[in-house]
């Protein structure tokens, strides 16, 4: 198996993370925000896989399973909240939620 | 013990009044009036049994309070405290009479605040442990702020917040100075102490003493008030309800002067002497600037507020002259100004109750329909510009005569304040009571006549026989 240098994996992870982060900030639709959040989580997962492979330990894979579980739970709660939001504000625009300001 | 009874008794009566107002309407004001009269008589009676307190500082109670820091609960009286406490009681009764009809809602809480504030003020005048003094200093401020903020006029929140922040910032400086001095005491003698008599024995090096004195001075200069830290006063006085203004002008300002005498001058004599020329200049600026600003005002209460600034300038000039005659003049000015300012603010309140306006442009020709009120207004305006025969003249005259040998130029400038006070006094009286009558107002009621009459009577008595106030201070002041 060709050895993939750790730096390449981490670069990939960073790029994916930034794409996800930019997506969270710049998308107004909450579902797209959730998708971008997923991308960020996956990016972190890639980083963990790469690190596990570099250190030749299985902990990286275990962390990735944890992240997947976390993502699933978070998406479930998030989608529930956004359904409530859609019922209340009649839109999925995240900028509608701005009453907690001073 | 007697003083403790008075202070905490007033607080308890305040709570009682608050409680009783809920049960029976209008009972709070009677309870307040009754408690003030009762405690005043109690105070007078106890003084007769303790005549030596007229001469030098007589300790009444001293018990440990917060022993870790050697903070004690110590109260004492001397002639200065006694004079000011008697003034406080008298003006407290006037305050209750003035608010009799004026305060209609939340009466119970109002009278609680009034009684609590008076309790705090009496505590300020007799505390000799500096931490206790600071404690009472804060206690007297909070109810006052509440009175302005809740029962004041249209801009009351702004005025209350401004008043509160101003005094709190200056008190902070005083607190730093108190703690620093206490630690210096620990450094010099080995034990922490906040007790006044211990501090009198301290030998503080001049550079440190100057800073400590400055900390105290700024707090008392804000209270006095002295230019340039005077600007809380016009707003606070204008927006406060009548009793608030009476208490503020009559008594709270005197706590500043009291602090200057008791702490600044006696604790740091050398530093005060060095600072005296600056203080004198500030005093003269207060006198002249206050007079000029008073002349420019169209609001009755604001004009009287600026006149207070002008009069207290005389007190500061007199105190920093380090002269017995000037010191006596300062005491008389304090009492006289307390009475005459209280009178002018009561009058402003009476006029406001009738026409619901403080603006001089809305007034005119009131003598036509209210000659008795006009007569009293003239008498009190005369007190404001130092008409001989009333107490203010004695105070101003003795202050200037005493200060002249030390600061001739400053006294000559201060004498121009006499012209300035005549100008604004006449403008105040003539704009409101003379000229063609714009509207008819009711003349003085019996309650208002009692208020004005008693104040004028006291002003006349002190003006014609000031030895009542001065006989104890002749030998006592070792300035």
């Amino acid at each position: 198996m060709t050895h993939i240098p750790l730096e390449h994996v981490l670069f990939l992870s960073c790029i994916l993370f930034s794409i996800g982060f930019v997506g969270v900030i710049s998308r107004k639709n909450t579902l797209f925000m959730l998708m971008s959040l997923e991308v960020m989580l996956n990016a972190v997962g890639v980083a963990f896989i790469g690190a596990g492979s570099a250190w030749r330990q299985a902990d990286g894979q275990v962390m990735f399973i944890l992240i997947l579980t976390l993502a699933a739970a978070e998406v479930a709660v998030g989608l529930a909240l956004f359904i409530r939001m859609q019922r209340r504000y009649r839109s999925l625009d995240i900028d509608e939620l701005n009453e907690m300001r001073g | 013990m007697m003083l403790t009874i008075i202070i905490f008794g007033l607080l308890l009566c305040g709570g009682f009044a608050w409680f009783m107002e809920g049960i029976k309407q209008h009972s709070a004001r009677w309870i307040a009036l009754g408690s003030f009269i009762a405690f005043a008589l109690f105070f007078a009676f106890s003084l007769i049994n303790n005549p030596q307190s007229f001469n030098e500082l007589q300790l009444f109670v001293r018990i440990p309070w917060i022993s870790i820091f050697n903070i004690e609960y110590a109260l004492a009286l001397d002639h200065l405290s006694i004079t000011l406490i008697i003034l406080t009681f008298f003006l407290a009764i006037i305050c209750v009479l003035v608010s009799w009809q004026e305060i209609q809602d939340k009466c119970g809480f109002y009278y609680f605040n009034l009684l609590a504030s008076i309790a705090g003020i009496i505590g300020v005048f007799c505390a000799v442990d500096l931490f206790l003094f600071f404690f009472f200093w804060e206690v007297m401020l909070l109810p006052m702020t509440a009175i302005i903020a809740i029962w004041g006029h249209e801009n009351r929140h702004f005025a209350a917040i401004k008043f509160f922040i101003f005094t709190q910032v200056s008190s902070l400086l005083m607190l730093v100075a108190i703690i620093a001095t206490a630690y210096f005491h620990a450094h010099q003698t080995g034990s922490l102490s906040f007790y006044y008599q211990d501090w009198l024995q301290l030998d503080i090096p001049l550079h440190l003493a100057s800073y400590l004195m400055l900390g105290f001075f700024i707090a008392f200069a804000v209270k006095l008030p002295s230019v340039p830290v005077h600007s809380w006063l016009p707003d606070a006085h204008t927006q406060a309800p009548t009793a608030g203004s009476v208490l503020l002008a009559g008594v709270l300002l005197k706590t500043g002067a009291y602090g200057l005498i008791r702490f600044v001058i006696f604790l740091f004599p050398q530093a005060s002497q060095n600072f005296a020329p600056i203080a004198g200049v500030l005093a003269v600026v207060s006198i002249l600037y206050g007079a000029k600003m008073a002349f420019a005002q169209t609001d009755f209460k604001r004009l009287v507020a600026y006149s207070s600034i002008s009069h207290m300038g005389f007190v500061m000039l007199a105190l920093f002259a380090f002269n017995t005659v000037a010191y006596q003049g300062a005491i008389v000015t304090m009492v006289a100004h307390g009475l005459s300012s209280a009178a002018l603010f009561s009058l402003a309140g009476m006029v406001y109750n009738r026409i619901h306006s403080r603006s001089l442009n809305d007034m005119g020709g009131f003598w036509q329909s209210a000659p008795r009120m006009g007569g009293f207004a003239l008498a009190f305006a005369g007190a404001a510009f130092g008409l001989p025969g009333l107490a203010n003249f004695i105070g101003e005259f003795m202050s200037l005569v005493g200060a002249y040998p030390r600061y001739p130029i400053l006294v000559i400038l201060a004498a121009f304040g006499l012209i300035g006070s005549a100008i604004y006094g006449m403008v105040l009286f003539q704009t409101s009571f003379q000229g063609s009558a714009t509207q008819n107002i009711a003349d003085l009621s019996m309650r208002e006549l009692m208020i004005s009459g008693s104040l004028l009577l006291l002003l006349l008595i002190i003006g014609l026989y000031p030895n009542l106030l001065l006989q104890y201070s002749m030998g006592a002041s070792s300035l």
Binding site: V24, I25, S26, K28, I94, D95, L97, N98, E99, M100, R101, G102 | V227, V229, S231, P234, K292, M293, F295, A296, Q297, T324, V325, P371, G375, L378, G382, F385, L387, P388, G389, I394, F397, M398, L400, V401, Y404, P405, P408, V411, I412, A415, F416, L418, I419, A422, I423, M426, V427, Q430, F433, Q434, G435, S436, L464, Y465, P466, N467, L470, M474
Partner: protein
């Protein structure tokens, strides 16, 4: 006995004042006038008895101590300032003038103001004034004198502004009070200096101490005398504080007679005479006094030549005559000055009260150019007025003649006055006779220029006071005032210059020259030929009529700048500077609160930024 009488002297009018004020509307006219005039009668009687007893006593000085007012600690001990009265020859002259003339004027006023709805208040103020004036002249220390001084100022304010519904009266009263206050402040500063230098404020002690410790011409004496002069100048309406007196004529005529002719304006003269011990130690200041007197004399005389209001002519005339008194004091002719004070009180009160009758008869008409021909219509008033005027002009035999000649005689050879001032006095006498004749011609001779029916006052009481004053004016010159005891205790330097022999002659014939001049110059005023007479409206006349432009000068120099500064800084620049703090805090608040906009994406972006910064800080 006499000490109690002395102590009680100011208290009769004081009790009357208190009763009148408290019972104001409930008293009828009879009761109120009985109370006030009765109190004055008691005072006048007591004064007379006291003066008689004084002349019989050995020491010619009477003192009484009422109570201790306050004490001042000086360098050697304690100086007491007491409510105590001191009666000597000088103060006895003053109390007789004040109570005697005061009584006559009160009597007149009781009838004159009968129909005024605030009659009790008026008489109350008049009585209070007498109380203050008596305290002023009887005070044995300068602080009590200051109390009387301010008291008369206050009463003058109240009486000038008695008809307070008119804006003009209110402003005139304010002007009077503030201008005199300026003088009072100068006097107060003088008192401070006096106490610092001598440690005393009791008049007798001050005079003794001054004689003992100050050299002639010393700095202390100079400044203190100058400041006392400042006080006197304010109260006596002399240059430069004279602008209030003409406007003070807005008050009722009895007020003008009592306060602004006979008593209050002479308080300044009394002060200088009483403090002559201090003034003698400052010869330059005595020269100033003389020059102030002379210049006011001429200024007021010139201004009186063009006035259109009868009371204003008399006001400027008063100013001018007090100038004579000041000139006398400045020249060291103390007794002459006080004598002229007394005679002036007689004839000026007479003139004012008679003018009041005339004004009343013409239904409150005061404009000279709307009078005329009253000699036939009001013969009694005309005769009384003539008597007053001939005393004013100092025609031989009248009281005015004796007093004015006494002054003029001492001017030429006085070391602090001199020849130029003698000529000023003569010129002043000339001006006096010219404006007096003009006044008489315009008001009483010539054709009738009024068209209202004359209101003839039926009451005889009015005439009593006037006739009494007329008798005093004519015969008062025979009263010999023995002020030797007061003024020769400290000798006044007298020069030994040889006087020219024509001095007296010139002085005596001057008024006649003036009368002759007026006879021809003002001929059109006195002949009844139907020609229309109007006041001159030329620029010069208007300038002179306004009192030589002093009002305008003070307006531009003092009043406008003060009002401008006051208005400009109405919002208190110090407050604005302190509120900058509040503005600054609010600025931070507004700035930072934009970052709390509730937008989730914003917060997320802030997280990211913070993490980047942190990581950067950690790695670098």
């Amino acid at each position: 006995m006499s000490t109690t009488m002395l102590a009680a002297l100011p208290f009769y009018p004081l009790v009357s004042f208190l009763l009148l004020i408290t019972l104001a509307k409930r008293l009828s006219w009879q009761q109120a006038s009985l109370l006030s005039v009765g109190a004055m009668a008691l005072s006048a009687l007591s004064s007379g008895i006291l003066v008689y007893q004084l002349s019989q006593s050995d020491t010619h000085v009477l003192t009484v101590h009422l109570w201790s007012w306050f004490s001042l600690k000086n360098s050697t001990g304690i100086a007491d300032v007491n409510f105590a009265f001191y009666l000597d020859a000088l103060s006895s002259v003053m109390i007789c003038v004040v109570t005697g003339i005061g009584f006559l004027i009160h009597l007149f006023a009781a009838v004159y103001m009968k129909n005024d709805e605030n009659f009790s208040r008026f008489m109350a103020y008049m009585n209070l004034f007498i109380v203050a004036m008596l305290i002023l002249v009887l005070a044995d220390n300068l602080v009590l004198l200051y109390l009387g001084w301010e008291g008369v100022g206050l009463c003058s304010f109240l009486l000038i502004g008695f008809w307070y519904q008119e804006k003009d009266n209110v402003l005139a009263a304010r002007k009077a009070f503030i201008v005199t206050r300026i003088g009072d402040t100068a006097m107060a500063i003088g008192l401070f200096m006096l106490f610092k230098s001598l440690g005393q404020l009791n008049i007798v002690d001050v005079t003794q101490a001054a004689q003992a410790s100050w050299q002639v011409g010393s700095n202390d004496a100079y400044w203190i005398a100058l400041l006392l002069l400042g006080g006197a100048v304010g109260k006596s309406a002399q240059l430069p504080l004279q602008t209030w007196l003409p406007d003070a004529m807005a008050g009722p005529t009895p007020v003008s007679a009592l306060i602004h002719a006979a008593t209050m304006v002479t308080a300044g003269v009394y002060l200088i005479a009483r403090m002559h011990g201090v003034f003698l130690l400052a010869p330059e200041v005595m020269q100033y006094v003389a020059w102030v007197g002379a210049s006011t004399l001429l200024l007021a005389g010139v201004a009186a030549l063009v006035q259109t209001d009868i009371k204003r002519v008399l006001a400027y005339s008063t100013m001018s005559q007090i100038g004579y008194m000041m000139l006398a004091l400045g020249a060291g002719a103390w007794s002459a000055g006080v004598f002229h004070l007394m005679t002036h009180a007689f004839f000026k009160a007479l003139l004012f009260l008679t003018a009041g009758s005339v004004i009343l008869a013409l239904h409150h008409q005061q404009n000279l150019f709307k009078m005329g021909g009253l000699l036939k219509k009001l013969p009694v008033e005309s005769t009384l007025f003539i008597i007053g005027l001939i005393c004013l002009m100092a025609l031989p035999g009248t009281s005015g003649f004796f007093s004015k000649e006494a002054i003029i005689a001492q001017l030429w050879s006085s070391p602090t006055a001199g020849q130029s001032l003698w000529w000023c006095a003569i010129l002043g006498a000339l001006l006096t006779s010219i404006y007096s004749c003009r006044l008489f011609f315009l008001a009483f001779l010539g054709g009738q220029r009024f068209d209202t029916k004359l209101h003839i006052e039926k009451s005889k009481l009015l005439r009593i006071s006037l006739i009494a004053l007329a008798i005093l004016s004519l015969l008062g010159g025979l009263i010999s005032l023995d002020l030797q005891a007061v003024f020769t205790a400290i000798p006044t330097p007298v020069s030994t210059v040889n006087e020219p022999h024509w001095l007296h002659t010139v002085a005596i014939i001057t008024p006649f020259i003036g009368i002759a001049f007026s006879w021809f110059y003002f001929a059109r005023y006195r002949v009844n030929d139907g020609a229309e007479i109007k006041a001159s409206q030329s620029k010069l006349s208007q300038f002179l009529r306004s009192g030589l432009g002093f009002d305008t000068l003070y307006q531009w120099l003092l009043i406008k700048p003060y009002c401008f500064i006051a208005q400009f800084n109405r919002r208190d620049i110090v407050d604005q500077v302190i509120m900058l703090n509040a503005w600054y805090v609010r600025l931070w608040h507004d700035t930072l609160s934009t970052s709390q906009n509730g937008s989730l994406r914003w917060y997320a972006a802030a997280f990211g930024l913070a993490i980047v910064c942190l990581v950067g800080v950690v790695t670098l």
